[in-house]
Amino acid sequence: MLSARHPMPFDGPLPRIDIAADFWSLRFVHEQSCSYTVRKDVPLPFSVSDEAGVMATVYADGGYGYAATADTSPDGLRAALARASDWARRTAGHALLDARTLPRPAPHGRYASPSLSSPMPSHREWFELLVQESRDAAIDPRIVDWEALCEVCTATHRLVTSTGGDVVQQYRFLLPSITVTAHANGDTQQRSLNGQRGICQQGGVEVLARFGFAGGARRVAEEALELLSAPNCPSGRMDVLLAPDQMVLQIHESIGHPLELDRILGDERNFAGTSFVTADMIGSYRYGSDLLNVTFDPTRPEELASYAFDDDGAPAEKTHLIRNGILERALGGSISQARAGLAGVANARANNWNRPPIDRMANLNLEPGTESMATLVGSIERGVLMETNRSWSIDDSRNKFQFGCERGRLIENGALGSVVRNPNYRGISASFWRSLARVGDADTMQVLGTPYCGKGEPSQVIRVGHATPACVFADVDVFGGAA
């Protein structure tokens, strides 16, 4: 889809750029996504989607401006830079930030997803795999809907700066999913393979094997049926054991978002919200129990948001945000760091060529502890194991939350018991993590994430990774479905 007049210059020199500015950058993005879906044994129409464009950013006269265009011709690039420059100059007198004080990076490097060049199934082979899974799900008349899908996305991003910086990063993302819906006697229960798009990693077909995708549909269907006849989750205060595919949501909403430095600085207050965390808490605040260790880790190869540089050109490295329960730093990119006078991480990210970078989570992981799954279960006298997030709601300070899961299992006297449906729990971020009682070992971990983290004005949905073990929380407010 590219031509000589509108190249996507991922290698080699750019056309001559002659613009009066303190700093400029061009961030090129080309992504191609193929979507394969089989629903109720019928392949849905195949679709392929291309994104190709460039974001121009300019610092001029103390102002900041951007312009995004799909016109990547030399004239298109110059026009975008001129437009960005125009915005920078027009708003310099009202600018929140003095762009003269912002970093002017000159990054150099490359990044590639694991097994980037490994062969992938053909279109026909993808549909054959998905049709097989779909057929395996239809095991009972009470199964009323079922779907198996996979989205495969390849991407190349290049960042070029007026300071001589030049970074090329190449990715391949796989997002497989299986969802089965069962209905009987006025109730509907849905079960999925690690959640709605919870499986999302960089790499090749090894991602499917890692999660037991082949053969997964029957297992998911059996669990959906099991939920139909299960009792409602009991209500009351009790311990909960959260499986990794619920932990990802708990980490995401009540650690990740509150630690975003742009929220703390107020940028998101009109939309995504503010944070109960304030700048003066960084360095001393007890976020959780001694067992809580949270890292920003863009170095785990298969995790969804691994990269070498963020979209402002900052080099990415593994960094502790919370160590032994104490908050050490927030999730802020280089611009937010300069604004706040605080240390941060390389997390200025944009979801596409047509949105500017803002502070995002990237990979936010909870480091493993030492306890096996058997020990975690054995430690609970009365509680519930909750698996797979299905509902999430939290206030705009990211404090009061209520989350629901697809499946629960009672735990009594240290042993797993019967399955329960509609398990929910609620709490307050500021105190919930202090009730973290046990952290599973590396064998309990899963590397999951979401492609649907939303925030920003204009809004952006971005890919986020979370690797986490199973964890036990003490004395949690648990409840079931509607009476």
Binding site: V48, W87, H94, G186, D396
Partner: protein, 456 residues
């Protein structure tokens, strides 16, 4: 703000230029088609100034120009789609579209026949264009920041033309264009205590904006009162139209979908077996009352109104052509998502000006936030109060309240506990900008509830 010379480049996103470009692109598709092939193409473009503000200053100003074309190639009962990002250079884009068709030609032999394929069987072309021109966005921003002088204002201005088009090999052409602005802003007192306001439309009116800002300032004075912390429990409540918009937004995710209802995944499934809302609840999908196109992405015309709930009972669903074929239903212009984009609720008898008096003592909720289901089949939902939410006694605001979590079923809130709906309804233009500016809206009244359940 300084006033450098305007850019000396013609804006290729201007209305006539973009419409002509779209028709030329469709003609290129016609030329590229081979015997036995059909195509359907959906076009979406915008040229938007986004100016983000914080602390009464400009945080991130910029411009986004984007054009997308989804081209579906059909051969017999097989079909596949390629979504392209276009440059605006017709020669280049025509070649790209031709390349996309070539790519799809190589894919289609590997696909199975689609038993649920439906294409328009009549040619129904249409054209609508509304709004514009707007003042330069920098001038609007200057007015906003000037009006907010001294206030902690945070928000965003999005302004410019949004275009949608459809073309197919049968010669159908549809064009819809709206040049709008949408300003969303909050005035903050401290912490999470703020008033959120919206000013959106087709023509910027300085005096209308000034009135909106004055209203926001008046509310800010109330938000600045000492806040009250309420215990979990049940309270009488008034939900303003913006709070109702959040409930409508949650229901929109599959609640009215024909496919979701047929497969019992809709949150309104129990209405299929007799559960009801209050008899005064009427909900329609009403494109005629919104700003969305009169055609959907596959080229089917959308009727002016689709009844969804009437007299508190389920009256219909949003049925896409594909769902209609699968479940033997009648399609009614829904997109493949089967989500409403012009949901309208009928007003009631309560004058909006009397809402607080009718509330008497209870919660006046200006905004809700982050809704989701606690128990979807029971249509039990949870969410938070946000922004201007007040404790009211004897019809007067006494204090703002700390954020509260509600957890209740729709059947209670708009059923047995619905006291009254306001006579006036409010058009809320969706400010959504995920990927693109939306053309969705809701038209909703406020709702007075005898009781609403709060849990945290």
């Amino acid at each position: 703000m300084g006033a450098p010379a305007p850019l000396a480049v013609a804006d290729p996103a201007s209305a006539p230029a973009m419409e002509g470009y779209f028709h030329d692109l469709a003609a290129a598709l016609d030329r590229a088609l081979r015997a036995g092939e059909r195509y359907a193409a959906s076009f979406a473009a915008e040229s938007t100034d986004f100016v983000r503000m914080n602390r009464g200053k400009v945080r991130q100003p910029g411009h986004v120009a984007q054009r997308y074309l989804d081209v579906r190639l059909v051969r017999g009962a097989r079909h596949a789609t390629h979504s392209l990002c276009l440059t605006g250079d017709l020669a280049h884009d025509s070649a790209a579209v031709g390349g996309a068709l070539d790519g799809l030609r190589t894919v289609i032999p590997d696909l199975a026949d689609d038993p649920h394929l439906v294409l328009p069987d009549t040619v129904a072309s249409s054209r609508s264009a509304r709004g514009g021109p707007l003042p330069h966005s920098a001038e609007i921003v200057e007015a906003i920041l000037s009006a907010a002088a001294g206030d902690d204002l945070v928000g965003i201005l999005a302004a410019g033309p949004v275009q949608r088009g459809f073309a197919n090999s049968e010669g159908q052409r549809n064009w819809h264009e709206a040049t709008t602005f949408n300003l969303q802003w909050s005035l903050y007192h401290r912490g999470d205590k703020a008033v959120k306001s919206t000013y959106a439309g087709f023509a910027w009116d300085s005096s209308a904006f000034a009135r909106k800002m004055a209203d926001a300032r008046a509310q800010l004075a109330l938000v600045s009162l000492p806040a009250r912390t309420l215990s979990p429990g049940t309270y009488r409540a008034y939900l303003a139209p913006n709070a109702m918009d959040e409930i409508a937004g949650l229901l929109a995710w599959g609640g009215f979908s024909g496919r979701a209802l047929e497969t019992r995944q809709s949150s309104l499934t129990r209405m299929q077996s007799g559960a009801t809302l209050d008899r005064r609840v009427f909900l329609d999908e009403s494109p005629a009352s919104g700003v969305a196109p009169s055609f959907q992405a596959e080229g089917f015309a959308r009727p002016p109104t689709v009844p969804l709930v009437a007299g508190g009972m389920l009256a219909g669903a949003l049925v896409s052509p594909r769902t209609a074929r699968e479940f033997d239903l009648v399609a009614n212009g829904a997109n493949s998502s089967e989500m409403p984009d012009s949901l309208a609720m009928r007003g009631g008898a309560l004058p909006a000006a009397d809402a607080l008096a009718a509330l008497d003592t209870g919660l006046a909720i200006g905004n809700l936030w982050y809704l989701n289901y606690s128990d979807q089949p029971a249509c039990r939902m949870t969410g938070m109060t946000r922004f201007a939410t007040f404790w009211v006694e004897h019809g007067r605001v006494v204090a703002p309240v700390e954020p509260l979590r509600f957890d209740d079923t729709l059947y209670r809130m708009l059923g047995e506990n619905l006291a009254e709906l306001t006579r006036e309804t409010e058009l809320v233009l969706d400010a959504g900008t995920y990927g693109a500016r939306t053309l969705s809206s809701t038209t909703l009244p406020g709702a007075l509830l005898r009781a609403m359940s709060f849990t945290l």
